[in-house]
């Protein structure tokens, strides 16, 4: 237990120490929120879909949680080459504990990041149906963070160089984001898009947040959203732990 705790704490310390990085990582969600939120707002309204800003805010929160959690796992690449990973792998602690500590740490950091973006959304004029919905939305945030921190861990375990990193970014992370319905309503998706968006776990996370925060255009039942996240999350955790146990240095 203490091993899990100390590795979790390490992720947190690393996060709070890189202030510049915190500010930088808020830039992208801010851009999406303000530019898309206000820019596409009138079009969205004319199409009869309601307030786009209310719609996109949960999507942008989901995005920052996704990026932050998946990158925590890809951070393994740095740790592997610049050493700290080895220090933990030769310690008399099971790999599972190391993996859990890191994953929880990454997920916690991602949630803090998501909360920061949520605060920005609230400041920019986003209004949830009720403020009591925020803890529920936080629950979904935690689920998104756990899912993708585990996925990041699974991928990071096999990553060898920066080229691989770019590949993951362009062919996994961005598709997960764009196909999640963060920016467009899933209820209107047709044909192939409809099915592809449905196998993207982030869809359910963002949809769940939309549900509880009371934005219109939610596509599924919030209980279904949550169940999917739990099941997929459990699978990704096992997968991540397996991949982590196979790391060779």
């Amino acid at each position: 237990m203490s091993a899990i705790y100390i590795l979790w704490l390490r992720e947190l310390k690393r996060y709070t120490r890189s202030r510049a990085q915190i500010v930088a990582s808020l830039g992208q969600p801010l851009l999406y929120l303000l530019v898309l939120g206000f820019g596409l707002g009138p079009v969205f309204k004319r199409a009869g879909n309601g307030d786009y800003f209310q719609f996109i805010a949960p999507g942008v929160i989901g995005m920052s949680v996704l990026f932050s959690s998946i990158f925590s796992g890809l951070g393994l690449l740095w740790d592997r080459q610049f050493g700290f990973l080895k220090e933990t792998l030769v310690a008399p602690v099971s790999r599972l504990q190391i993996m859990i500590g890191r994953t929880l740490g990454g997920a916690t950091v991602a949630c803090i990041q998501g909360l920061l973006v949520m605060v920005i959304c609230l400041l920019a004029g986003f209004r949830p149906a009720h403020f009591s919905a925020i803890p529920l939305a936080l629950g979904f945030m935690v689920m998104i963070a756990l899912n993708f921190a585990a996925l990041g861990m699974a991928i990071g375990s096999g990553l060898q160089d920066m080229q691989g990193f770019q590949l993951i970014m362009n062919f996994l992370v961005l598709p997960i984001y764009f196909l999640s319905g963060a920016m467009f309503p899933l209820s209107d998706a047709k044909n192939v898009l409809k099915y592809v968006t449905r196998i993207d776990p982030l869809s359910y996370g963002i949809d769940g947040m939309r549900n509880v925060l009371g934005a219109s255009n939610a596509a599924f039942d919030p209980r279904l959203d949550f169940m999917v996240l739990v099941v997929v999350g459990a699978i990704l955790m096992v997968f991540g732990a397996y991949r982590f146990s196979k790391i060779e240095i």
């Binding site: 203490s2 100390i6 390490r10 610049f82 050493g83 220090e87 030769v90 602690v93």
Partner: protein
Amino acid sequence: MIRVQNLVKTFGSFTAVNDVSFDVAAGEIFAFLGPNGAGKTTTIKMLTTLLRPTSGAIELDGLDPQTRQNAVRQRFGIVFQDPSLDGELTALENMEIHGVLYHVPHKVRRQRTEELLNLFELWERRKDQVKKFSGGMKRRLEIARGFLHTPKILFLDEPTLGLDPQSRNQLWNHVKKVNEAEKVTVFLTTHYMDEADRVAHRIGVIDHGKLVTQGTPKEIKEQTGSESLEDAFLKLTGSTIRDESANSTDQLRQFAKMWSGGRR
């Protein structure tokens, strides 16, 4: 303390370590020498549970690293060829993580951390982030950290690579001090023959995966009729140059150097 018998490790058709046998007694400083790619690091990886041998037997303090992994890990400390500190954290925090991972009780951890950081002349800088340390300081911190859980064996894989003579000298003095004070067995590799000559009680020379010879520095010099250990080493291993191709680690390191303005 360390017993290796007929150790073999093959990667595909390549035999990295070929039928190597040696013993290291408790409290001894044993230097493992060899050109690049001779099998030093592979051997260390097998001794420290990171790689499984293809065949042969290893015993550390009477335990098999394969079957008693955690018990063995508790018994050794290791300083890797490349740094394994967390640069974002302070020296103290790096020590603390190590102590927790090695189940060192809180009180002992604090006390020993203070002792070791003082010994390695880092106590003054304990609250600084490690990324601000010089190469020599980082190495010292890694060695101090390796001693934290009072291991019976300390592995040092080219610990002085890239250090200036002052830092090297100081580092070995520290290692010798702890070796004498705590009776820690030290297993080291280095490319600096003068260091091995000065520090090691016994030496093993490995080349092309085979143990070429072993003995005290004096014995090895006599055996080859050489003045210095460096000459003896060249006589034993020949003078052809072993070029290792750059792997992804090297490339990434290059990248990081660029990225961090050469701070690493």
